[in-house]
Symmetry: C2
Subunit: 447 residues, 2 copies
């Protein structure tokens, strides 16, 4: 949470301070969200353990996010604490992203976004045993009018298809859900994408909420309303732009995430640094080890900063008419790997990591970036234990064939997101030398 | 067309009058559509065959539509004539409905709405042999940059399902269509709903155009952006609100429509009169025989007036938060019949006709309308050779079971569109005596 990121190491707070004299969330946008009243107060600062590096990191974060007010504050630390809130600004479709440790213990956060009396939780066989009961409790405690149905899908990208999607419709219809119901996506990117598309399509659109439980979903896929399923010939080719009513990120859910899944999500985190946030990239270069060792503060910051980047882009270009495409950096190459290897063999973030290395290579071949940037991309991805080369079975022709159905093709021209200029700058363009693309493909494929 | 409706019987026009002195479409909104320049001129009126009833009908139409200017005008009658245009006013998603005889011979009407270089025509096995070549010609003549693919679906409501929808996606992906492509729906309501939903979902949304070829589609389903497919448990339960770029209605296509299909469409026409347009209902009472005998003028007027009613409702309530629900008058009972009989055994308009009789019966039981209105509804539906009772196999329980998944249920309460007050007035409400519903079901079912 913002508060914990910037203050918990510097302020010793009474955990049971009365509400009226010390409720002051760091995130100044919280009040605009109408989440509650704010009180400012002076508190005694005790920082026996404050180290220089803590201070440095804290200041850097404050400068980088331009959100946190660097003043002496404190906050209530009980389970109904204020979360960090990042808003996705889309007019009457705006919504909050709540970020915090233990937010599933704050039922009011979810319940304020439930429309009607019936909820359908869409989750999978891995997540259901871990969090389904907790979510059902959060939805229903003190809220007896709400009944909750659930549908538990098989886990994995290979099930992100029409047959599995139909199970959601079947359950919704059998449960006689009406237009006033709410769908809740509980899980990673696959569950979020499928539940969102089902919500977009069921009765021509019902409300939905995202509760992402993987790094990938928390930093990227749950935000911005891209929903959909795969076609056997390509990823995410069938879907809708459909925004949730809120995104609730309980960072505690990452505790149960396998290392490989956790690391996969870091692929998208690295992406944000490369396409628009050099400061974040530099922070990652210094803190990748903290992330790899699951440091909660480092993760809280990473998720918030990623959501801010994503929300900012989505607010400017919801339906990807231009700017938003930069979020697909590395994805054209990456989707080709996922499609050709069979969905699920490579995790999305792993494929994107290789895609970013290839896109950086191509950008360098075009003369658009310095070699040093290529090296830094490679080094950071290696630090994250992510792959930097496609699987050996991938050929140039396989890449070309899979890339031929990419959504960024316009009138036959494949547009790519490529790095250009200083670190943190990119372009979305179809105006590049085809030879550079061919050379990159040949450099990364054995045949 | 509006012009022919209001002037051809009263004015003898020179058919080859020079463009600069007599182009004056009746529909004064045409100019706002940017379709061309308008000239007003005086012409000599010769009305040797003008009867009193012609005059009466003409004046009635003028008063009722509030669109036609009752002045002395004429118009060019060649094949590149101006069509009648009804606009669906939805801000940046507004679009024109072109209505006219032979509009498929006016390529510019279609071509101005084609985005990108690739078009996918979605049609069915019945319509393809009749109009596919003509549409492909209209899309490509003088337009060499455009290539047209097609997918021909099996014909019938029973194929309005996910498996058939996937054929559209398969073809689009195999043809490497990109976001700049345009889908064209060529056919009746089933094709329009499926093509529209495919367009809404392919690559998260591409442009599409409706070319309806049945009365049902021309007066109702092609306008307003409701798209979707059936689920085995209920009609149109999966879909999207997604507006076309234009609707092109070539009334000449009705020449090949079987009588049963033609009559089925009249069910929706009768609906408009009952829910909001008493003048139109009265006109139908006088002119149903002309419609049954396929009188072109009567059909041109019926289609325009229906589209005006639909466009007006959709413009006020695109996503059916309230008002738009009135367009479902008779549909709750009707959908139950379609679902229980197996899709396709009853045509949609046939089922809706029975549904309207049942809804009128229930309205009368509630004391909301006079008996005379019930009689007029029954009489007009009989005049149209449409059924007034459900199939004998339908039981009360079958109706209740099918109606339990109706999209108009809110928090467990089935809301219905019922007639209330004078002819042409209705309400959308869940606040009615359940006994009236039970009594109606029992009156229309043997068990």
């Amino acid at each position: 949470m913002a508060a914990s990121m910037t203050t918990t190491t510097t302020i010793t707070c009474a955990t049971h301070v009365a509400q009226h004299n010390c409720l002051f969330p760091i995130d100044h946008r919280l009040n605009k969200s109408g989440l509650g009243y704010l009180f400012e107060t002076r508190v005694k600062i005790q920082s026996p353990t404050l180290s220089y590096s803590h201070v440095t990191r804290r200041v850097m974060r404050v400068l980088a996010t331009s959100v946190v007010t660097p003043r002496t504050v404190t906050r209530k630390l009980s389970s109904d604490d204020f979360p960090t809130v990042v808003n996705v600004d889309l007019g009457d479709r705006s919504y909050p992203i709540y970020i915090g440790d233990g937010l599933l213990n704050q039922p009011s956060l979810l319940q304020r976004h439930i429309h009607g009396h019936k909820v359908l939780v869409v989750t999978n066989t891995t997540v259901a045993p871990l969090y389904l009961d907790k979510v059902v409790h959060a939805l229903t405690v003190g809220n007896p009018d709400v009944t909750v149905e659930n549908v538990i899908l098989p886990d994995g990208e290979k099930y992100k298809d029409m047959d599995t999607l139909m199970k959601v419709f079947d359950k919704a219809i059998e449960s006689q859900l009406d237009r006033q119901c709410t769908f809740v996506a509980l899980g990673g990117g696959v569950v979020g994408d499928m539940c969102g598309y089902a919500a977009a399509s069921f009765l021509r659109g019902v409300n939905f909420i995202q509760i992402p439980t993987t790094v990938m979903a928390q930093v990227d896929s749950s935000v911005g309303g891209k929903t959909g399923i795969n076609h056997i010939l390509g990823k995410n080719l069938i879907g809708a732009f459909y925004q949730p009513k809120c995104v609730l990120i309980d960072t505690k859910t990452l505790n149960t995430l396998p290392d490989r899944e956790l690391v996969s999500g870091l692929g998208e985190v690295i992406k944000y640094g490369l396409i628009r946030d050099a400061g974040f990239f530099e922070w990652q270069e210094k803190n990748m080890q903290a992330l790899m060792s699951r440091d909660p503060d480092a993760f809280a910051y990473t998720i918030k900063r990623s959501c801010e980047n994503k929300a900012d882009v989505v607010s400017q270009d919801e339906k990807e008419n231009g700017l938003r495409a930069i979020g697909n950096f590395g994805h054209t190459f990456g989707h080709a790997i996922e499609t050709c290897c069979g969905y699920g063999h490579w995790l999305h973030g792993e494929a994107v990591a290789v895609g970013m290395v290839m896109a950086a290579d191509m950008s360098y071949r075009l003369g658009w970036i310095d070699e040093s940037v290529v090296e830094r991309v490679n080094n950071l991805i290696k630090k994250a234990n992510l792959p930097t080369a496609p699987p050996e079975m991938m050929t140039v022709e396989m890449f070309k064939s899979a890339m031929a159905v990419d959504k960024k093709i316009a009138n036959g021209v494949l547009r790519l997101i490529l790095l250009k200029g200083a670190l943190g700058s990119c372009v979305f363009t179809g105006d590049y030398d085809r030879k550079a693309l061919d050379d990159t493909l040949q450099a990364f494929c054995k045949s």
